[in-house]
């Protein structure tokens, strides 16, 4: 009886986590396995009875599919550019709102507004801002004399991509700034005081103290943002509907417009692989520095 009690210490723990494990199995592991399974079939939803096992053919098709690689290229370009800009602006804003000044509380709250707006709503708003007939951005540029005519920002792939990046930077820089602000606040003030006694100027302080001590926070922030940016859907969907097709949009259209569940599942699984690789990369970098 007594022996049993000591054994149950660890088994009891298992029982406690069991419900959580079951939930994870049902809502996360099962769908992933099911997606992998479906991706090995040729399956049109409107002819679900005619599904055929075709092994890795869907993946082989994607490897040679120029539309797939174009969507990967669009996604990665968007990811790298927008996350980099968000990081730069995020650090600047975080440093700014970390300093004591009047109305700092109001300032911190205000900075967060773009992030609080739902992405779809923000995307609709930007679509109106960029409009080639009535858009306020065109109006401002023409009044400032930068343009002579209204321009169609969303009318070509390059313009649409940069419009998307600007909108995303506006929307998620506050999130970056917020995370980095938390990181800044744990850096002890004494380090700055002693370094200024040693004669370090502001730039030296930033590159020798702030940045190295902020690195773990930066990496966490980059991880969050990169994963989000890789799955970007709302912005390109609302702004152009496909001129700058990202991998999520390709997957969505294949699944729900074409009803091609085999190929759509293969794309979804590749998204999963990419996301896992990104996570592994950051975790590796994070772990190495700890």
């Amino acid at each position: 009886m007594r022996k049993n009690k000591t054994m149950s210490e660890s088994t009891l723990a298992w029982y406690f986590v069991l419900p959580a494990l079951i939930v994870i199995l049902v809502v996360a592991v099962y769908p992933i396995l099911r997606t992998i399974y479906l991706s090995l079939f040729s399956m049109q939803l409107q002819f679900a009875g005619d599904s055929k096992f075709i092994g890795l053919h869907n993946y082989w098709f994607l490897l040679r599919d120029s539309r797939f690689w174009k969507s990967v290229e669009n996604t990665l370009f968007f990811l790298v550019t927008s996350v980099f800009l968000e990081l730069v602006f995020g650090i600047l804003i975080a440093i700014l709102i970390n300093r004591p000044f009047k109305f700092r509380g109001v300032m911190r709250a205000t900075v967060l507004i773009p992030w609080a707006v739902p992405t779809v709503v923000a995307a609709m708003m930007w679509k109106f801002i960029y409009d080639d007939q009535l858009g306020v951005l065109n109006d401002i540029f023409v009044k400032l004399g930068i343009f002579h005519h209204y321009k169609a920002f969303l009318g070509n792939p390059t313009g649409a991509m940069w419009s998307m990046i600007v909108a995303d930077v506006w929307k998620t820089t506050p999130f970056m700034a917020l995370l980095l602000l938390a990181g800044l606040q744990v850096i002890p003030k004494e380090i700055y005081e002693s370094s200024s006694i040693d004669g370090a100027n502001k730039f030296q302080q930033f590159f020798r103290i702030t940045l190295p001590l902020l690195k773990p926070t930066i990496l966490v922030a980059l991880l969050f943002r990169s994963l989000d940016a890789f799955r970007v859907f709302d912005l390109p969907w609302v702004l152009t509907g496909g001129t700058t097709e990202t991998i999520s949009i390709y997957a969505y259209k294949t699944l729900f417009t074409d009803l091609n569940f085999g190929l759509g599942s293969a794309i979804s699984f590749l998204v999963f692989i990419f996301v896992m690789l990104i996570s592994l990369f950051y975790i590796k970098v994070l772990g190495a520095k700890r």
Binding site: N4, F47, A152, G155, F256
Partner: protein, 429 residues
């Protein structure tokens, strides 16, 4: 021993929750089944999945039906806005064999897809083709696939050419006329552009292209053969691309203009011609319109290879879900909602174009919609887009490549060759 026992207990608790949820479903389902057996005596409730109607028409049709059939109650289940979103929502529900929908509203391009998927019932036992004598040809073709009728036309829609009749007294009959009239009048009476259409990468681009393509005697499929890169098709795309890129008749932003963007530009008086749907008519007569009384409507003009003018058919159709527990009650509702009486309500309350030809000469309908006289020739010429269960996929491949041609990243020939190759993979795999 104890360990396994506890696992079993936990699992049972967990499964208990699951079965509690599904148990509830079972009881409601079985009670539904019981009531459908004697539908004549016991009241039945059916659910009609339909888009949100901003007009009172849909509700009025339901009210009239319930008055006539006191034993059947109709519950309207509102679908999301926009055809693509409705498609996703219906596919998700029907693909999961959801039995909560009885009457399914379908855009004209879905009946073959939903029918092949066994999501909607063939209606052949309720209706025969002979009963469609007074119905427009286009919608009937659109709801019929492999001799099965999968839906009944509820109302029609057709993309067509709007023109400024203060600038263009008679609408163009040919592409050349359209081009020269647009060039000659661009800039007159406050216009900035000769031409406007929906050039965004979406279904609206295809409806525009198809209207022109049929007017040039071309098509997408001939049986299972892909003919979308034939000479007639390339010529059509070249014409559309030239309007925008060579003659600069359209705004630069046309490559991202959706239906409403294009509509707004025309009602603001900025364009001589517009390719769009009949709903534009009501907005041109609204108080804030710059073009009230200056607008005419016509079918798409003919191309050099074409024999007849064409227009792209749209419109909504009603079918019965395969998973419905009350197919007979659902049919009764469809029969009424698509009847002359209900289509008249729809025409008067919502200006929706009837699919029954004799309503185009109905006095009450014309009094409310004098423009229907202009619309009849367009609707007689209107054709359904390629009737195939793969339509959505085919359209998507075309959207990408035709859009590329408009952007200038592919030549019309290359764009259609690529589209043809991809469509062939879909249709003949």
């Amino acid at each position: 021993m104890k360990k396994t026992l506890s696992i079993v207990v936990v699992l049972m608790l967990f499964l208990g929750i699951l079965s509690a949820c599904s148990g509830q479903n079972n009881t409601t389902a079985s009670s539904k089944k019981a009531s459908s057996k004697d539908a004549s005596s016991k009241p039945v409730t059916i659910t009609w999945a339909v888009f949100k109607d901003p007009t009172p028409a849909a509700q009025k049709i339901v009210d009239e039906f319930e008055k006539k059939n006191p034993n059947i109650k109709v519950n309207m289940q509102v679908l999301p806005a926009g055809s693509d979103a409705i498609h996703t929502s219906l596919v998700t529900a029907l693909g999961a064999a959801d039995d909560s929908i009885d009457v399914v509203s379908m855009d004209i391009i879905w009946p073959p897809e939903f029918g092949s998927a066994n999501w909607v019932l063939p209606l052949n036992k309720y209706v025969s083709k002979d009963e469609f004598k007074d119905v427009l040809k286009g919608p009937v073709e659109g709801v019929t696939y492999k001799n099965n009728i999968y839906a009944i036309p509820w109302y029609a829609d057709a993309e067509l050419l709007f023109y400024r009749n203060d600038l263009v007294p008679t609408p163009p009959k040919t592409w050349d006329e359209l081009l020269s009239q647009a060039q000659a009048n661009q800039g007159k009476n406050g216009t900035q552009y000769g031409m406007e259409f929906t050039g965004k990468q979406f279904e609206g681009l295809i409806t525009t292209y198809m209207g022109l393509l049929w007017g040039n005697g071309g098509d997408v499929l001939k049986g299972n053969k892909v003919i979308v890169n034939s000479k007639k098709s390339v010529e059509t795309l070249q014409y559309l691309v030239d309007l925008a890129r060579k003659y600069k008749l359209t705004p630069d932003g046309v490559t991202n203009h959706d239906t409403e963007d294009a509509r707004r530009l025309f009602t603001e008086g900025k364009s001589v011609f517009l390719i769009n749907w009949p709903y534009v008519w009501a907005t041109t007569t609204a108080p804030d319109s710059q073009v009230a009384g200056k607008v005419g409507m016509a079918p798409f003009p003919k191309g050099p290879e074409g024999t007849a003018e064409a227009a792209t058919l749209g419109g909504w159709n009603l079918g019965i879900s395969k998973f419905s527990k009350h197919p007979d009650a659902a049919w009764k509702f469809i029969q009424f909602a698509t009847s002359k009486e209900a289509q008249k309500i729809n025409a008067i309350e919502a200006a929706r174009v009837p699919t029954i030809k004799s309503l185009f000469t109905d006095k009450d309908v014309l009094q409310k919609n004098p423009n229907f006289t202009q619309l009849l020739p367009v609707f007689l010429a209107a054709k359904p887009r390629t009737v195939t269960p793969y339509y959505s996929a085919i359209s998507q491949k075309m959207q990408i490549h035709i859009h590329n041609a408009l952007l200038g990243t592919e030549t019309p020939q290359a764009a259609l060759d690529n589209a043809a190759k991809e469509i062939d993979q879909v249709v003949n795999k």
